[in-house]
Symmetry: C2
Amino acid sequence: MPNPVLVEVTRGSMVESIHRGAIAAADASGKIVASLGDIDSKTYSRSSLKPMQAMVLVESGAADAFGLSDAEIALACASHSGEPMHTTRVADWLARIGLGESDLACGAHPSRYEPVAEAMIRESRKPTRIFNNCSGKHTGFLTVARHWDVATNGYERAEHPVQRAVAATLGDLSDAKELPYGIDGCAAPNFATSLAEFARAAAKMAEPDGLAEPRADAARRIIAAMIAHPELMSGTGRVCATLIRAASGRAAVKTGAEGFFGAWIPKSGLGIAIKIDDGAGRAAETAMAAVLDRLGLIGGDAKAAAILRAPVLNTRGTTVGERRPAPALATFELS
Amino acid sequence: MPNPVLVEVTRGSMVESIHRGAIAAADASGKIVASLGDIDSKTYSRSSLKPMQAMVLVESGAADAFGLSDAEIALACASHSGEPMHTTRVADWLARIGLGESDLACGAHPSRYEPVAEAMIRESRKPTRIFNNCSGKHTGFLTVARHWDVATNGYERAEHPVQRAVAATLGDLSDAKELPYGIDGCAAPNFATSLAEFARAAAKMAEPDGLAEPRADAARRIIAAMIAHPELMSGTGRVCATLIRAASGRAAVKTGAEGFFGAWIPKSGLGIAIKIDDGAGRAAETAMAAVLDRLGLIGGDAKAAAILRAPVLNTRGTTVGERRPAPALATFELS
């Protein structure tokens, strides 16, 4: 059975496009407290996995051994825009672990922050690996490798001790029996979970009292770092930053490519996983805003409201339609 | 009942995202010769409508009155990339009808051809209306207004004689009883048809022997112009240009926003309409390539084959998945 329509995009009086998808909400006991659609098939969480991937960095003691700040932990969870606040911090961090940009396994892509991207074009500066939105995550992997004194070369391969530790931690948190993987845009393995498994792992991080130390502390620090540094884990004006700020300390969220979106909600001890079937980021954004709205977490925040119901503009700036939650999502009960 | 899955995107061993949609194929008698999914609901064809919108330009005699070349007729059907070959020709054409860029009702957006967009950033040149991918269509509308000696101001409003003529012609060709409209990205009305209605109109243009003159001649000239100037009706390296070149004179195709794609196939007298439910252009491209492939129209063309089955690359340029026709599309019989 196909997943329900979660988001619709209108133009004039008609719905022009629709987005189907699924949502799982779990509590820290592992119980699914609410769901829409298929939450049991495996899918890639892509960059929404970064907070789980960062668990090893903190839990292993590597973060403390190298004196990482909350800002750096937020960068380990980031899909950043390649602004100076991101790239200079990643460069400093790499230097502190005795490595450099050439040790990163991710490829280069232009900054996602238009003023920086345009300035680099004007100055004929080519984007380098540190501008990759995942450069913080990769620096986190390298930090663990340095702490364990294992080879840094090949740290992005699934059989490397760092990636094996990531998979083991994710397996523990999610109760997943199998973790097949694909290669992410940044060349690191991305371990596939069901939405139920992802939501369970996120819920255990959001309310970690049932976890042993140092895991519980690692979860607390990672979520606190994302909430404290919304622009470092995304970028100026980005959706994650907007939603985290709107939630005023009550939720961390992390987008992923191909329509994934995860949330960690300490206040209610919930973990949320959303996947849009067709991979559309615009629909995942609206779906996540709707979930937070249903939980009373974005209140009257105007910027978050404009993600929940987004005007469709033409090239003259006139509103000609809107992107909005479809009925199944607008009436979704999360508890 | 939901539309079938037409296109799937894989990563590693798993399907990561899917795209549902519908396809209609009609012949010039108006008969639907093949279909997949819902072909009777109204939808916007967006820029795929341009060849129909251009009918009035040619049929009215305006094109001949102003001595338009095939290149300019192709530009009237274009979603162009804003390369010099496009913008200089539109500027010349506007001058020839005694108007200028400020008469265009479309908004500005950056060139879609990266070397031009980057050069403009380097030179601090702002995109102007002529760079709008629809500037040729708008100049066509203005040419009709000049030919009819009616007001050029307001030519983009649904009640203007030019737009009423567009709707009347589309109604005749498509047999649509109603043509609701929304406002397109360029501020012009976009008249909604069902996929069946669009395919019928395209088929009558592709094999116009049953149409009265001067309509039949207008249809022949428009399709010939698109086939003769694939880069003028799209841009360097664009999907429409690639598919038209691969078809070697046997088909014209025109993409539209939000996952629409139309085809005019004189060889077999067919009109084709594709709409991806979720609006994804990547899926519409693969679906159109698959339809042309099923009709034997793209043969061994390597660039077209890379649209039909497109590698998914990571930031290091490694293939990590693929975009491909799903089974329903791969086995679709068109005749």
